[in-house]
Amino acid sequence: MLFLAQLLDHPVQGKTGEAIGKLDDLIVCIEGETYPVVTGMVVRDRRRRVFVPASHLASLSGVLRLNSSIVDMTPFRRRNDEVMLAKDVLDHQIIDITGRRIVRVNDVQLALIGTGYHVVGVDVSPQALLRRLGPERFADRVMGRQIIEWSEVQYLASAAPVQLKVSYDRLSELNPVDLARIVDSLSFRESAEIVAALDDETAAETLEEVSDARVADLLEGMTQERAADILEEMEPGAAADALEDLDDTVAAQLLDKMEPEDAADVQALLAYDEDSVGRIMTPDFVQVPFGTLVGEAVRLIQSLAEVPDPLLSVYVTATDDPQTLLGSVRLRNLILASATTPIADVMDPDVPTVHPDDRAVSAARVLAEYNLLAIPVLDDAEHLIGIVTVDDALAVLLPDIWQRRGSRSFG
């Protein structure tokens, strides 16, 4: 097995064994192949650093030997699309896709595949650090490695100070909640890079779980068109929270660029206080008029273009006034009843309700006390304007979570 830390600073020899310099870094091309190929190396001779293409390389294992004794002495310059292993990968953070976590690269594993050397994995074990810290002759005595295959990691282009083309396909294996945690604990530049690589829908789902301040920064950092697209896909409540953290003029511009319908939903929520029921409620619910049969109600749900998720209850409203709530039917009872039963027979007429100006916490308390999954929200005119689900309420009840914000507060 070949590792970067074993190679760095080792003498590089010419064809006949004469000293050329010491290995300063290895250069790889990260885009294209699953295992990035080593395209060249930087050799240091006193203060001069020169580039040696991989084609001049005779062997990496054992002695670093070139197949030629003539080296182009032009000083090394960085070029786009070139990643330096020691400088841009070693000691930097990458995403471990299978482990759903951020890891720091303590060593890089290389292997000869076909005619070229390739990066095949990264070592994230503390032992790798020990080997690099201690004197070289003790390095072999430290046992244990923890290698993650390169095909299982996502490299972040912001680690290198040059323009890079990087594929972010692997990110799609992570779900939005994991992505959000990663986005929250990386630096702004890196998290912006990740969000930029996601499609609008995934980006929206991710940002819903990211801390408000970070979301505001991310939205401000991207083009307004892209920000508006993401906001459209977000839950109106989450979008409202994000917009509230932005500068007023920027928020207005973004609302302007959003689809009028989505913007209206968000604006309606912005009218309510941050910790109020109005802010956490969702306007998406299913309602049926009083006279409906159970079978008709089920067909109505099936015919909806967008079915609310989660769908917990169906709300029954007065036949002549669709905004007056008469009762609710749990989805469970709706499915269990025969199709010809009138909805009134399965309806629970005695539903607790909340007002949009109530504290969000009190809605959560009512949900818990009455063992409900969702609670309807009635405005001053007693009109049904939305529901608060147990999911929304849970987010209110959970205290500030340390583990997500902690690292940035104290790191």
Partner: protein, 440 residues
Amino acid sequence: MAIKDESTVAPAVAVASRSLSQKRRGLGRRLWPYLLALGPGIIAANAGNDAGGIATYASAGASYGYLFLWVMVVITVCLIVVQELCARLGAITGKGFSDLVRENFSLRMTAFILMSVVIANLGLIVSEFLGIAAAAELFGISRFIAVPVAAVLVWLLITRGSYGRVEKIFLALTLVFFAYVGAAFLAHPDWHAALRGTVIPTVRWTPSYIELLIALIGTTITPYMQLYIQSSVIERGVTADELRYTRFDVIAGALFSDLISGFIIIATAATLFPRGIAINTAADAAQALQPIAGQYAQALFGVGLLGASLLAAGVLPLSTTYVLSEALGFERGVSRSWREAPIFLGLFTVFTALGALVALLPNLPIIPVLLGVQVLNGLLLPIELFAILSLVNNRELMGQYVTGGLYKGFAWSIAVVVSLLSLTLIIITILGWFGVNFSS
């Protein structure tokens, strides 16, 4: 019923908060961003006023009268410069200090720099528990009860509680230190002498003077504060354009906290110095408060000391753990809370326990140890300063925001002067072992 009650209250609250935001618009957009940015800088600078800080300032006043006041002016300027550099690092790179060190220095260098930070922090953890012990003893409670209880309490608070709430409580407690301003006035100091001490630099080339000087620098420009300001700037999402507001925060914080420090020096200079009382116990320092609060002086001092020490005793082990675990790559699995991360929690527990245990060593002289820890911080400061300077001048990292010209020169000279002072202390101490005596 509960819902009804709250719905009658809610509109009033809503109206109040709306009118506040309107006022914000009316009051001029110029000033608000500056006021809103206040926070990290003030908190960071006030962290210097913890148990060790109080002991050091009180000691400076008690032993040398007003002689050290001019030093505080110089230190304040240095503090502003150093804090600004860190805030800038945080704002431009979006990364914490240990991340940057790991990514930009060699591994051995990283280990050296971070070990110095960890050692400095470990010393501070001990000093915070000593502060708790001293405060408890002012109330007649044995340190063998107070310190373990405090350690467990801190451990529980940090592992189960919400930091935001805890910090607010403790910060409120530290307001007690305002009492020192009053104490300074009521101690009827010789204002003429105080002013002279502030503007005319006087240096004594004795080991104890230089030791105290380094302790003053170490407690005012604490490595921990630099880490704190950098990470809170990141946490707040401060960007390059918003840096000027943060600069204001940094300056306000440094001025505020050093003004308090100055008053502590004046208070002890007016009361303890003329009587030749050197500070040996926390009770001595409490005497400085006697003129203002009489019999309550000790209680007041105890509460303040307890508040500041408890806060720092909680935050320092946590901060140290983050520094170490992130640089070493013990990143916690994102799907797990850090409570389930064994190495992380283990480190945190070890740091807390170690601090508490050392503080419980029998016959440990409190004030000399507190001072010693500040000296240690001062000695290790140059390492951190050079690391910060090297990062802030890295064009690849900072782009157009690298420091330039006079400012750069000034920043480097601070690092050089602090290093020279540290070196002087080391040399004087070593020569002292061989019997060379510098005291006049």
